[in-house]
Subunit: 339 residues, 2 copies
């Protein structure tokens, strides 16, 4: 009997905590579950491997720098032959929480996304699927690992992107201060941060920035009350659908770790959180925030920084004598310089 | 009495093992000792931090890729604005064993070396010492760590390079198969590998490639029996001393992990170990090696691959609002492209 009572009390406590979180538009980041570890480990190696790029040096990790909150903190990333990428690089941390991938949502999931930069001439240099897999097949370490993970003696591009996606699923940042608050630790955030969160809800930010990712779960028009001024030619969802109603409609970015992922917006035009909050208030909510309000929201946003997973750098499979030497300068004026 | 006898036997065993190693021209890699861990940890962050470069994306780890045996496996590295570096990048692993740094020995130690690529316009873009430290001072995390490590409230460039050097001292690769053999495990290498080692000694390779690093402890003329043909303008030690006797005299590269650090020589002209061994035999020793001999030496060289340290990727200190946004495209035609 006594045991039953204790159980009941515990159940109430759990439900109470759960309710605290459920009542809010934002939910704590869930821990990583149901991962194929061997596949994720293979994917980690591929994520860090520049030999998937034309030059041999640009990997997923170059722009999605895992030491720097999953971004490069640049307005636009640097691509193959120092080309200018045409849109700000979003973080790869928590990217599994996005309902679609890319700013315009043109990829339905992480695996579909992973193939994009590899095949993009501006980004990793445009290796075809066949070239990528042919290169990997010259490395005995990869041949063995693909065999262990997929049970085949071949290496397919789908297997490459599938492994990268599996690794990316492990890149979650739970247990930020705001998540502790959501779970019931009322001291996890201070009065200013709490005021910022109340404001974030009351003025309407949380209408779009909600859920586990604090965004990443809908398309929204950028520039509701006033147009978003930019020289960047991207038109968001319109570039995919070619429907007029989709012009300047973008996937709402997640705000997890947003304090670390500057600069902001698809054109990287906002350097600071202060700037970004000011712009959002003005063009999305038709509201000129006071310095105090802006400061409170910025303070709240900083509580969304989570715990980054510990990532042991992989030792990449060695090339064999058959592995082609990457030629980063092929097709450049430097190609014939003392070579 | 019994205890004394056992002690004596153990001592003999130790001496015997030690002698086995001492009699050989190559010694096992010693484990890392006497490291200032806080300083090395700070140095690890700096080693991985692209914000020490003009573009914000090139770090020590870009060319000295710790996931790829400490090199980029390119003939010449890619520098700032995709510039062509003018000499093959040596590995950073075991670099503390080099008696001087760089191919031409122009840096006396790791700390002096570390400043080179940072200040080189072709490599990391030529940030001055003042710019580097000014950028770091805008990041509260670094300010705290430099204070903890050095006890000052300022950040000096010497402190930056000192920390990087301390981290680099941890990058040793002990316990390769050949080191196990040196320590007395006769089954650690097979008959072909042993034959290769005997040949390596008998024909004279070990005259220069010896010691803990299997090289890295002397300058030698490249091209003793025949000139080394290359379009690379480097003249090695001569570029430092301007003495005719030093023309084409280079620091002998270490052969630790050499199977992984292709391509070879200061001009990266030899793609495979087979090519490198053939050239060395011909121009350094005046000897045309048979395919069998070449194969044996290559087999031996592969036993020099060691155990790489487990490196947890650092989470770099975040920039503050005062941290300047890196401008990789400044001064390029792309600078004004939709910006």
């Amino acid at each position: 009997m006594k045991i039953r009572i204790i159980t009941a009390v515990l159940l109430v406590a759990c439900v109470s905590t759960a309710r605290a979180a459920t009542d809010e538009p934002i939910q704590p980041i869930q821990l990583v579950k149901e991962i194929n570890l061997a596949k994720a480990d293979l994917g980690k190696q591929l994520f860090f491997d520049g030999r998937l790029s034309r030059s041999g040096i640009l990997s997923c990790a170059t722009c999605h720098n895992l030491a720097q909150a999953g971004v490069d903190n640049l307005q636009y990333s640097v691509g193959d032959r120092w080309k200018l990428d045409d849109i700000n690089t979003p973080t790869v941390y928590n990217s599994s929480l996005n309902f679609v991938q890319f700013w315009d949502g043109r990829a339905s999931d992480l695996q579909a996304q992973a193939g994009g930069p590899i095949g993009n001439p501006v980004e990793m240099g445009g290796f075809t699927h066949v070239i990528v897999t042919d290169v990997l097949k010259t490395m005995p370490g990869y041949v063995t690992e693909f065999n262990e993970v997929y049970g085949t003696n071949d290496i397919s591009f789908d297997e490459v992107t599938g492994a990268i996606a599996e690794f990316e699923k492990t890149l979650k940042t739970p247990n930020g201060r705001f998540d502790h608050w959501l779970r019931g630790d009322k001291n996890a955030i201070d009065a200013q941060e709490l005021a910022g969160y109340q404001l974030f809800k009351s003025i309407g930010c949380s209408a779009c920035h909600n859920g586990e990712g604090v965004g990443g779960n809908s398309f929204q028009k950028l520039g509701v009350f006033a147009p978003y001024k930019t020289n960047n030619p991207a038109e968001g969802r319109y570039d995919v659908t070619k429907k007029d109603k989709d012009r300047m409609t973008f996937k709402v970015p997640m705000l997890r770790n947003v304090a670390l992922t500057y600069p902001y917006f698809h054109d990287g035009a906002a350097r600071t959180l202060h700037d970004a909050v000011e712009t959002m208030g003005r063009i999305q909510l038709g509201r000129k925030l006071t310095p105090k309000e802006n400061g409170e929201i910025v303070a709240f946003l900083k509580t969304l920084t989570g715990e980054f997973p510990s990532i042991v750098l992989p030792q990449l499979p060695a090339g064999s004598d058959a592995t082609p030497l990457s030629q980063p300068f092929a097709g450049t004026p430097e190609a014939h310089h003392f070579q």
